[in-house]
Symmetry: C2
Subunit: 359 residues, 2 copies
Amino acid sequence: MLKTSILKAILIASVAFSGFANADADDNKKYRWKLAETWGPNFPIFGDASKNMARLVDEMSNGRLTIRIDSSNRHKSAFGIFDFVKNGQYQMGHSASYYWKGKDFNTMFFTTLPFGMTAPEQYAWFYHGGGMELMKSVYDKHGIMSFPGGNTGNQMGGWFRKEINTVEDLKGLKMRIPGFAGEVLAKLGAKPTNIPSAELYTALERNTIDALEWVGPSLDLRMGFHKIAPYYYTGWHEPATELQFMVNPEAYNSLPEDLQKILTAAMKLAAYDMYIQSMHESGKNLATIQEDYPHVKIRSFPKPVMTAIKLANDELLLEAAEKDPKTKEILDSISTYQKQVRAWTNFSDRAYLDNFDSK
Amino acid sequence: MLKTSILKAILIASVAFSGFANADADDNKKYRWKLAETWGPNFPIFGDASKNMARLVDEMSNGRLTIRIDSSNRHKSAFGIFDFVKNGQYQMGHSASYYWKGKDFNTMFFTTLPFGMTAPEQYAWFYHGGGMELMKSVYDKHGIMSFPGGNTGNQMGGWFRKEINTVEDLKGLKMRIPGFAGEVLAKLGAKPTNIPSAELYTALERNTIDALEWVGPSLDLRMGFHKIAPYYYTGWHEPATELQFMVNPEAYNSLPEDLQKILTAAMKLAAYDMYIQSMHESGKNLATIQEDYPHVKIRSFPKPVMTAIKLANDELLLEAAEKDPKTKEILDSISTYQKQVRAWTNFSDRAYLDNFDSK
């Protein structure tokens, strides 16, 4: 009896004591979370971002919050992440906001847009231009917290078996290009399609498709497309693809404040880190492509082709804005902010790159 | 007596108890640190980076590590930060590595270089291209730990009272441009000088100097230079000025591991955040300049001027590399990495900006 009550007194006292040093009474409670990601196991760069985030949280919280990562091979539903997090089946998800445009069209604007902002421009919009607030206003009604989850950098326009010289060349072109960018090309007569990644190489090799876009050198090299499609076009449709961390709000609110801060900082840091890792891997793999596969020709679409694509894109966005005031609010915010920050990009990095190449 | 010994037992027990949940026995110890920064109090953006870092550490550590920031008005030695941290007078500093080139020439390469990398390129070099390891090899012998401390983004080439049309126009030009970039211009006949920031406006107004560089719209607007020098030139000399957090290694090693991780993550996050904040403030202030001061003309130096400056820069770097094997090692790393990553920048963001402007 004595032993038990002493132990009890010590336990109570120790909780009270640590209460002096820390704001939260239950600060030593351990939280075991699970994150579901869209990607398969060991998917490069994207998968590194979620691992990096979980490692940072584990280290900074001294093991008080640990996050187990389930890849698509485990949870069997690459595009079920939204519902997993909403229902609380998983406390967290790692995916991309534009995958949910079927559920809510307005989720599409928090990943990237054709002819949209570059990665640093878009981060400035998220954190200083009202982007985070708009994303919250869209996700609140779904009961999900959404955060930037890592940027791929500017994506390439894709691998083409034949050169594109005129807008006519787009007519009937069978291209794997999902989402809104596919709709843009469809407006110009192309036949956009989506094909699972495992079947892409064969589809291109057997002329089931004439072209495809994937990401950029960082992830394209391992896919082998350069062996069968010699034209590699520069980008227009995904200038800054930002992945997404999702958090279940009830789970978040159950955390003591310091763990909330640790989690938020870890997500933000892992997102930035992925942008920089993408930059590195792209440079490295581009060098490999250029050295080992000199037949690959990097091209930009001719100006009239680019202009036609841009017009089609503007028309589609205008139509969307007319259908929904929230869409209009988001698109207005993006276009106003982009105009302002782009003027700076043009006078800073862009002018600098020109100055550098003076000869 | 009884009361005291019970209290003692409880104290011992509570320490032992918290030892079960956490790896470090002294995890509730509070660390009170001081940081000395080069900047004055409430200096925008630069000062926000150190405050952001300290706030992140405070919140994530639940107050176990707090960092008091002393600005230059308090410690009275803007360029004494290196010694403050080395001697342990301050546990941390916030400054810029190129300020220490008089102490060790090789510290100069960890801020930015004329015709060097852009901010995301340079972060990729730091974290994936060997930059952090090289910085460590330079700072280890001074007993200082050095980390990226926030990027200004691409800096403008400066405010000029007269247009620069030929290399001849640089001859005798009195310009406030400190450091290595000043040496580059001196090679072409300019008269570089350094003037304290408080006296810059008057010096330019009274023709004591003909031109000056400061930062870019983010910080230039408040200085008022646009009122008296109508030519604003695009940049070449500081494409990605990275500030610096310094930490005293003994102080760092005295921290439990989780606080070390929190501090490291907070510094890295605050550095990225400052880059994005700079992007935002630059865009915003550039818009103000263009709207309110339409007489300001933004120019790039003519190609022959830019080429002459670049040649002078290359010669000076070559001379430096010949004098010191460590300098050569760092410059080789930078130029090899820059060449690789720049190829990607040119095919991604730069080509994209061209595609965007197709009309």
